[in-house]
Each structure stands twice: as structure tokens, then as C-alpha cells.
């Protein structure tokens, strides 16, 4: 395959980009030293610093504008392997409500078996002395309540299971 038809997929923190070889070749980058680079893109002159690179050179950390970006480079072979081993199952059904932040459960407003509709208050979570109503964004039945009032919960911990 000719070099200039290659595409690369790059994951940078939560962002995913895809570049062709031509675009990479055209990018105006100069090297200041082994770690520091300057790139002019859309007339913006930006300095970037390479903080880390693994032995393959495909896992890197680059600092731009004071923020660090963790990068994963995938060439065509990597992308093909991903496709073969990866299948997505998506479901629109919400099966549980998780804590959006760590905090203390102040009050549980629902019972197991109860039917709830969109916007109903499920519980109150206190974090940093602020009380936050946790509401539901879909109609459902409460299958199980996994926490009780007075309990401290971590971010992402299941609060209630739905069906």
C-alpha cells in the first residue's frame, strides 16, 4: 500500500482523530529540541512538549497549553485488529443509576418495586455540604435499592437498579 494513502487513528484523552498521511506531511511542525516542538495550525503558533513515549512510540504524553494529553496511535494494522476483536452492543435501556459524584446519601425517595417516571426524584446525595437531588431521566420500575440513607458512596457506585 502506498505510504500517502495510510490513515492513522489517534486517541488523545477522550478525543479520537483520524489523519491521512498527506495531512501529517503538510502539518507545519518544527523541532526546538528533543522534547519541544512548535506547530502552526490555522495560523495559531502552538508549543508542545513531549513528556513521555513508550518503547513502541505509539503511547505518548504530550503537553499543549498547560494541559497533558495521553495519546494512543493506531496504524492500519492496529485498526484492523481492533475491528476483528471488537463488537459493540448498545442498549438504550438504563439498568441502574450510579452516583455522579462521591457523597453521603441523605434520603432515599423511592421504594423497591415502585414505578417512577421521568424527572422523579430518586434520592438526595450530599456532597461538600450541598444537597443534590438525583432524578431519573426515563420511566422505569425500581428493582433494587443498593444504598441506604447515611451511607457514603463513591463516584460511579450503583445507587438503584432498574427494570
Amino acid at each position: 500500500m502506498p505510504e500517502n494513502n495510510k490513515t492513522y487513528m489517534v486517541k488523545a484523552n477522550e478525543f479520537v482523530f483520524s489523519f491521512g498521511q498527506e495531512e501529517i506531511d503538510k502539518a507545519d511542525m518544527v523541532k526546538k529540541n528533543e522534547e519541544e516542538f512548535n506547530l502552526i495550525r490555522n495560523n495559531r503558533s502552538v508549543n508542545a512538549k513531549l513528556l513521555n513515549a513508550d518503547i513502541t512510540g505509539k503511547l505518548l504524553t504530550v503537553e499543549v497549553d498547560g494541559e497533558n494529553y495521553d495519546l494512543v496511535i493506531k496504524d492500519e494494522l492496529d485498526q484492523m485488529l481492533d475491528k476483528m476483536g471488537f463488537s459493540t452492543v448498545s442498549s438504550k435501556h438504563i439498568k441502574e443509576i450510579k452516583a455522579p459524584m462521591p457523597g453521603l446519601v441523605l434520603e432515599v425517595a423511592v421504594k423497591e418495586g415502585q414505578e417512577v417516571k421521568e424527572g422523579d426524584k430518586i434520592l438526595i446525595l450530599e456532597a461538600m455540604k450541598m444537597e443534590n437531588s438525583i432524578t431519573i431521566h426515563t420511566g422505569a420500575t425500581i428493582k433494587r435499592i443498593a444504598v441506604s440513607s447515611g451511607q457514603a458512596v463513591d463516584k460511579g457506585q450503583v445507587l438503584v437498579e432498574l427494570e
Binding site: I24, A27, R41, E67, P102, E126
Partner: protein
């Protein structure tokens, strides 16, 4: 005073102890189970354990604090801000125990601590006030009647409140019940007093406050204003002094009103008189905070005074060594509160471990913080990590220094309000000075930060590919078959 106990934690405890040490006084730290490793405990000359992590079992236990003071021969207590700082009962008990309370007297604190009593006290001094009901209510129907009279939206406020806690905006009568319940419940759990009142919600308001300083001989001065209009969830995130819109004439009138408020309750020590300023630059008295304020560093940077030192001097009976005429504003100072919060997700707490923590440094840059690399932000207290303050010869220079300092402040392991800070300091409304407390609502969307991050991520990605390809070239020349062929043909 030989030994001062600081009844607080985090950055403010550390900041107070630094001044205590500078003045040649011994310091005593208090700590909860969650804070054994905190810098304020490591810095102090002595430290005593208060109890379990929740503040009700530790930092709010005033009796235990006083008992320790007696045991350790402490002759002064500095309460910092939050916790016991505005608890008049506690201040009274401290005085009765023969210990010097570094703050105002319990009487002044009691009057100003209740927003309702404060309104009463100030009434006779002709200080302008926001329309509303001047007594506590818990009856939803009465609340709706009052709101109908003064017009929606209205603000439910905790009489004992502060820092935006127990405060709720109500847009329509239907929401009154839920919001009143929440406000009363929050007020009870945060301040131990569930009384709330209702005020007209001034549209396009700015929040500007005056710092005052009063000794025990009747001398009261003001240390100019702080502009605190950039807020989220009614809590300040950015403060600066001087304000971009306050004229010398307005500053003089506001300063005089603030001094009057302080005198109305025989105030001593440092205090802050908060005003709402409407779009026509009318100002209204909101409340007085009877403590050292979170944002006091901006005032310190433009006046050159150490406010904690002033508090200690006043507490031990010294006269102010300067008059109003001796005071002037030097340059411009800005503060950004660095909270462990996610500005991309509604400013929800983002608690975690500081895996990387490197502070910026330089002339005109000040960082007041209470954490070190490797520490975890506990869920039990306010999620503020640090206050980043910059000082410049004018506003523009202070803003530029701030942007540079944010970029050099490396925090990893959790998200902070710093990207929001950059958003503010680069925003046209902030730079022009034409903004109010609705800045976040009017201008801020997480997408704007996201877009910028995406641009930078793309740049990082291009740099990464280029670097990788260059390295690959160097490491595996075998891949470049065409050159090898050329070379072979040339022979």
C-alpha cells in the same frame, strides 16, 4: 499572646500559622481523622486530634477545642473561615474561658450572623437595602404571598447562611415548596439554624464587598472593595481588587457605608460588608461577614497589609497604626479559587488523588493551598484545593500573569476549575469589565472549553504521529526499500 490554636484546616489554617510563626508566637493545629497528613498539621508547633472525619464530629466541636486550649495553655484562638468562625456561642464560651478570640466580639457576631438582625441593626444608619421580608418564614403559602408582592424571581436565603449555602432561587410559585424544603434542610445541616427569609432577586447584580478593619478603640477603616461577581452555584470563583467599575467617588461612598455598618454593631477585627450593585451602579447592603474572608489575599496584595497580623494585633489590644488617609490601592490583584470540581460536568465535585501537583511560582504570584502531591481530597469538607492569586501594576498585567500561572499549575488525578478560569480570563465580558453574577449562565458552556481542548488534543495528536514516524524512520531503515533499490541501481 504566646500560643494560638487555629481551629480550622486546609489552606487557611496553614496561612494563619505562617503569620503566627512570623510574629514569634507558637501555633497549635487541630485535625480530624481525614487530615492527619495535612500540611497544616505538619507545620504547627503542636497538634491535637479532634475526632472522626465528618466536621460535626471534629472541626465543629467547640467544647473540645476549648478543653484542649486549657490543657495546652493556649491564650488565643483563630477560627479561620467556615466551621466555628461565625458561631457567637462559641466566641462567647472562648471569652468566658479566658482565651482571646481572634475575631469580632460575640455580640457583633450575633447581630451580623443573623441576616435578619443585621438588617435591623443597619436600618437606622440609612444604608440602602434590597426589598424583601425582614423576618424568618417557614410557611410556603406566606412565602408565595411575599414573592407575589415583590415579584419573581425571588431568593430564599438562610438567615444564618454564608457562602451560598442554604440559598435557592425560585422562578415560579410551583417551585416554592421543594426549594423551601431544600433551603431549610441545608440551612439546618450547615448552620444548625433552619430559619430562612425571602428577598427580591436583583437582576443583573454585581457582588462587590468592602473589607473593613476595626480596633478596640473605635478606629474603623476600610481597605477598599473586592469584586466577586464571577460565581457558580452562588459561590465565588474569581475575585479581584479593585473592581473595574467602581469609581473613586463610588468607592468612597461604599467605604463609608461599610464603616457605618461596622460601627452599628461596635465591630472589631476584620470584617467584610457585602453589597449588591445593580446595573445602574446603585448599591444595596446584603450582609456582613464577621470573619476573615476566603478572598482576603487580593486585599493584602493591593494594600501590602497582612490581615491575619492585623487581627492578632487588634485582638491583643493594639491600636491601628494607620488611618484611612494612609491607605491607597497599589496595582491590581486577582484570585482564582482552584476547586476539585469538573467545569465540564456542571461543576460537580471531582474528588480524587493529586497524582501530580506542581505549583506555579514567580514575582506577583501567590498560592495559598493545603495539599501536597499524593494527597487525596476528602469528601467531608469544602472541595477547594488552593487559591491562586496574582498581582500586577494594572488589571491587564494581573490577568496575563494569572493565565501564565494557571498554565504552569500542574494538577493531575482530578479535574479542577482552572480551565474555567482560563475561559473567564480570556472572555471579552470579563476583560471589558461588563459582567455580573450571571456570567456563568450568560456566557459559559462546557462546549467552549471542550472545543479548545479538542483543538489542543488535535495538535498533540499531530505532534505524536510526526514524532512516532520520525523515530520509526531512525530505528528501522529496512522499511525504506526504495532508497535501498536506488542505491543498488546507482552502483
Amino acid at each position: 499572646m504566646q500560643k494560638i490554636l487555629v481551629a480550622n484546616r486546609g489552606e487557611i489554617a496553614l496561612r494563619i500559622m505562617r503569620t503566627i510563626r512570623k510574629m514569634g508566637i507558637k501555633s497549635v493545629a487541630v485535625y480530624s481523622e481525614a487530615d492527619r497528613h495535612s500540611p497544616h498539621v505538619l507545620f504547627a508547633d503542636e497538634a491535637v486530634y479532634l475526632g472522626a472525619a465528618p466536621s460535626s464530629q471534629s472541626y465543629l466541636n467547640g467544647d473540645k477545642v476549648i478543653a484542649y486550649c486549657k490543657e495546652l495553655g493556649v491564650d488565643g484562638i483563630h477560627p479561620g473561615y467556615g466551621f466555628l468562625s461565625e458561631n457567637a456561642e462559641f466566641a462567647k464560651k472562648v471569652e468566658e474561658a479566658g482565651i482571646n478570640f481572634i475575631g469580632p466580639g460575640p455580640e457583633a457576631m450575633k447581630i451580623m450572623g443573623s441576616k435578619l438582625a443585621a438588617k435591623e441593626s443597619v436600618k437606622k444608619y440609612n444604608v440602602p437595602m434590597v426589598p424583601g421580608i425582614d423576618k424568618a418564614i417557614d410557611d410556603v403559602n406566606l412565602a408565595i404571598q411575599v414573592a407575589d408582592k415583590i415579584g419573581y424571581p425571588v431568593l430564599i436565603k438562610a438567615s444564618a447562611g454564608g457562602g451560598g449555602k442554604g440559598m435557592r432561587v425560585v422562578e415560579k410559585a410551583d417551585d416554592m415548596q421543594e426549594q423551601m424544603e431544600r433551603a431549610i434542610s441545608e440551612a439546618k445541616s450547615s448552620f444548625g439554624d433552619g430559619s430562612v427569609f425571602i428577598e427580591k432577586y436583583v437582576s443583573s447584580p454585581r457582588h462587590i464587598e468592602i473589607q473593613i478593619l476595626a480596633d478596640k478603640f473605635g478606629n474603623t477603616v476600610h481597605l477598599f472593595e473586592r469584586e466577586c461577581s464571577i460565581q457558580r452555584r452562588h459561590q465565588k470563583v474569581v475575585e479581584e481588587s479593585p473592581s473595574a467599575i467602581v469609581t473613586p467617588e463610588m468607592r468612597k461612598r461604599m467605604g463609608e457605608a461599610a464603616v457605618m455598618v461596622a460601627k452599628s454593631c461596635n465591630y472589631t477585627s476584620t470584617g467584610t460588608v457585602e453589597f449588591l450593585v445593580d446595573d445602574k451602579l446603585n448599591f444595596y447592603f446584603l450582609e456582613m461577614n464577621t470573619r476573615l474572608q476566603v478572598e482576603h489575599p487580593v486585599t493584602e496584595m493591593i494594600t501590602g497589609l497582612d490581615l491575619v497580623e492585623q487581627q492578632i494585633r487588634i485582638a491583643r489590644g493594639e491600636k491601628l497604626s494607620f488611618t484611612q488617609d494612609d491607605l491607597s490601592i497599589k496595582g491590581h490583584a486577582i484570585e482564582l479559587r482552584v476547586y476539585a470540581e469538573d467545569p465540564l460536568n456542571n461543576f460537580l465535585p471531582s474528588i480524587g488523588t493529586l497524582t501530580t501537583y506542581v505549583k506555579p511560582a514567580g514575582e506577583g504570584i501567590r498560592v495559598d493551598d493545603g495539599y501536597e502531591e499524593g494527597m487525596t481530597i476528602p469528601i467531608y469538607y469544602d472541595p477547594m484545593i488552593a487559591k491562586l492569586v496574582t498581582h500586577g501594576k494594572d488589571r491587564r498585567e494581573a490577568v496575563q500573569k494569572m493565565i501564565g500561572a494557571i498554565k504552569n499549575y500542574k494538577i493531575e488525578g482530578l479535574t479542577t476549575t482552572m480551565p474555567f478560569g482560563i475561559f473567564v480570563f480570556e472572555h471579552e465580558a470579563f476583560l471589558s469589565g461588563r459582567f455580573d453574577t450571571h456570567f456563568v449562565k450568560n456566557y459559559y458552556t462546557p462546549e467552549k472549553i471542550k472545543e479548545k481542548q479538542k483543538d489542543n488534543a488535535e495538535i498533540a495528536a499531530i505532534v505524536a504521529i510526526k514524532y512516532w514516524q520520525e523515530r520509526k524512520k531512525m530505528l528501522s531503515p529496512v522499511e525504506h526499500k526504495s532508497t535501498s533499490w536506488k542505491r543498488r541501481l546507482a552502483h
